[in-house]
């Protein structure tokens, strides 16, 4: 930096010249990051430098890890700084522990400066920043392969960590808040593999099996050894098991007023049932999923009521028209059930049983047959 000074020179008898006196710069520290500082946080500080002479200067930052009281070394702060710098802006990472191993409770920052002509700022600036314990971090998620249905397990995962205490020293507490109807539930541990690529975090798992519908709230609290806690909520809307829908059938069901002519032995079948939990054909290898069940019934001429075909509980029925007289009109009916719907809610006189909540879904089909 170029020196700017006036020179006074003696130009004649009785006159003399002199250099003006170099003045000291003044400095200040401004904390531009959050006032609340935790161990492991990044603190950003800015130096305010002013030289009355307008000359530039040199800054010198030093930061020391401290405690509120003396540690085993007998000092409040470490003698060795953990940060040094010369830039106008200093970004320092608050250490977790002092050299003696005790947790850092404060940071002492010292800023010194001198101008280009060697004048040092006086006094040097000091800033003591209180440091708090770092809060645990907590992240929740839920997984269910079968939707969120009453009676079906939901896997819950809480991924947690703690910058200064480490995840191993964080305690996790789970609390389930049921809907207002207070249905039963179970919450059991779920083993979660350790992620070797992320040692800073641990994931804990629980399996929640809600037994009722409604808005469920799972509250998880992560607490570190000094009692600093982080709390997260997981809202789960649990729905009822929906009724099964007959999704495909053979042969065709005649429209109202028409009959299906049965001229030979015919296999009536429902190859496909759509359901959230109990499908057909059965799903394999999933302990949660089940199989839809079926009931077949028949209304024959002259019979007072529809008769359930005892034992016919498969998805197909071999119908032999020879057991009837040609010209007879026979109604053959199939209904599909699941674990939550062992019956249909429709009147027997209805040929189908539409599921109001699912357009196009029916739990029942009725073939009106003409024996030929």
């Amino acid at each position: 930096m170029k020196l700017l000074a006036a020179t006074v020179a003696v130009l004649g008898s009785g006159c003399f010249y002199f250099d003006p006196i170099n003045q000291r710069p003044s400095i200040g520290i401004h904390q531009s990051s959050s006032d609340t500082v935790h161990r492991g946080d990044v603190v950003v500080l800015e130096a305010r430098y002013n030289d009355p002479d307008g000359t530039g200067g040199t800054l010198r930052w030093a930061a020391f890890a401290c405690t509120q009281v003396s540690d085993a070394s007998g000092s409040i702060c470490d003698g060795q700084q953990f940060f040094t710098g010369t830039d106008p802006t200093a970004a320092l990472v608050v250490p977790l522990r002092r050299a003696s191993g005790v947790p850092v409770e404060a940071v002492r920052v010292v800023l010194a400066a001198s101008d280009d002509r060697g004048a040092a700022a006086n006094p040097t600036q000091e800033l003591v920043i209180p440091v708090s314990d770092a809060s645990p971090t907590l992240e929740l998620r839920k997984v269910s392969r079968h939707g969120y249905v009453a009676g079906i397990p939901i896997d819950l995962f809480g991924k947690y960590g703690d910058a200064d205490d480490g995840p191993a020293r964080v305690a996790l507490a789970w609390q389930v808040f049921t809907p207002s109807t207070q249905p039963d539930y179970t919450l059991v541990d779920l083993a979660v593999p350790v992620d070797a690529n992320d040692p800073a975090h641990v994931t804990a798992g629980k399996t929640l099996t809600p037994q009722g519908i409604g808005e469920w709230d799972v509250q998880v609290t992560a607490t570190d050894p000094v009692g600093v806690a982080s709390l997260q909520h997981l809202a789960i809307t649990v729905a009822a098991d929906r009724p099964p829908c007959l999704a495909q059938w053979q042969p065709s069901v005649p429209p109202a007023g028409a009959t299906y002519p049965v001229t030979q032995r015919t296999l009536f079948q429902v190859p496909l049932v759509d359901d959230d939990l109990d499908v057909y054909p059965p799903a394999h290898g999933d302990p949660v999923l089940g199989t839809a069940t079926f009931a077949w019934s028949i209304l024959v001429p002259g019979a007072p009521a529809r008769e359930r075909l005892v034992g016919a509980t498969g998805n197909a029925l071999d119908f032999d028209p020879a057991a009837f007289s040609p010209g007879n009109i026979v109604e053959l009916r199939v209904e599909a059930f699941d674990r939550s719907h062992p019956t249909t809610a429709c009147d027997d006189s209805l040929p189908t049983c539409p599921v109001v909540s699912q357009p196009g879904c029916t739990q029942r089909l009725t073939w009106r047959l003409e024996i030929r």
């Binding site: 495909q248 053979q250 296999l267 496909l272 005892v310 197909a316 057991a323 010209g327």
Partner: protein, 585 residues
Amino acid sequence: MRLAVLAIALAGCGLNASGLDGSPGDAGGGDSCRAALSFDPPIPIAGPATTLRVASQVTDVPGVLEYHWQAWLDGAPIGFTPAQADGSQIVILASAPGVYRVDLDITGAAVPCSTVTASINVGAPGAHSAVMRLRVVPAASVAAPPLERLVEVDGGSNASLGIVALDRGTLATAQVVGQGGGAPAYVRFSPDGAPGAVVEAFADASGNLSARLRPEPHTVTIIPSAAGIAPRRIPGWSPASHQLAVDAGAAITGTVRDPANAAVAGAKVQLRLGRSATFDGVPSTLATTAADGSFTVRAVTGIAGDVVVEVTPAAASELPRLLATSTAPDLSAPLVIKYSLGRTSLAGTRILRQGSPVPGAKLMVVGALGAVGSVTPGTWATTGEARIAITADAAGKLPGALVPAAALSAVITVGAGDLAVAAFDATAGPPASLDAPAMQPFTTVALDPGGVVLGGAVLELAPTGALELAGVPGGHLVAGPSGTVTSALVAGGRYDLRFRDPGGRAAPLVVAARGAASVAASYHLPAAVTLTGTVLLDGMQPLAGAAVQLLCEACTGVERDRAISESSTDAAGRFALAAPDPGTM
């Protein structure tokens, strides 16, 4: 011909394209990376020294390419060795049969390359093969006709069927037109290329119908519901044609007389024309005999095949159903159908259980009879089926019902779900009593070919003989975790035991005509191989929720529609079926 799948995978489009029997796939790709895989040999057979060379062909992709391979056998990862210095080819040891799949990721290209996937079936040495039918039926909410095609299943190895393309077909609109205009009817469309992929429709009161059909000629069967119009079968009908013409057909007349030559009134008479081993025939209209025993049906004559006359007398007549078959009937002259059979009254026969009468027992006396009458003119072979319902009185005695003097069976209903079968010979007069033993319990265990229990296996009890004639429904049982099935069978009854494993661990097993006493303690279901594939609608869109069935090719009648194995497609259109293993030499 073996089934082999050579899949040529496309990078950049997100879908695999497969060709059968080594046919090349389309290696499209637009502006993105164009890459394909090929196998050598294209139809490999597993062996200790069998190797599969997999080569990648990457075109129009600038950059220094790096190849990252992975290989699987039936879903389990396997090793491979590089076969080119640049890594563009690998060699896999194919010592075991099954579906070999490779994935290839290409890096270093100037344009992004998606993972390329291809698979190939490696057959077992000396494999037997069996032809089966694959049927795919979309969910009712999807407007597309069903698909049916033959598949050849090779023994000893799982196989991929590759892409199964389901076509939406064309929306055919047609009108069933009779002499007086449009006529309501049931209409059955059977495509000539895949007769089993049937589409059914109902023409409304104006005869109008619409159906989504395969774009090919169909054989159409029309059964009008309006009186006086004869059912008709139309071969070679095109979906582009909008008319299905029907008419009154020819009048066929006749009379029905009982063994005493008295007119049989109220009997139902119907003919089937063109019957064959594989076709049940086109029905005539249905007639009811008048007081003088006369009838008139209308039918389309001149159809090649047998003609069958079916006479079902009213229940009060106590006459059996008569079926008469002729290969060359004369239908121009009135048919004279005359019953000639001896009959026995069951009056006084007592129904007993363990020596005690069964008051109010309900009987269905059934029997498959020989000749029960004659039909003239012409040469007709007649048979009969007896189905006579009788109810015992409060003392367990039967009223004076007449039954054919023949070997018969009584299916006795003692109570709900409590039945018994009593065989008796009515040729020598009525039996003094018929015994109705209690239902007989049985227990059996379903095992896989290796003797491992098959929890969740299904046992269908299909009644045969007397129970079948009486229309007794079958049973559906599911094995517990130990593979054990426990239930009760009708004493004296016979059943076909139909085992199947929904888990695909074994193939179905049918054990014919078993009574409770002859059910074995356990049954080993035969070995299965797994067939996999992907159903695409219009060759592009994965079709979820479609029913996929494997069906018998050689079967006829109702067995032709009974699934050997069934599955459904997942969100990606994929399915897996367990097929009976044809075995190896």
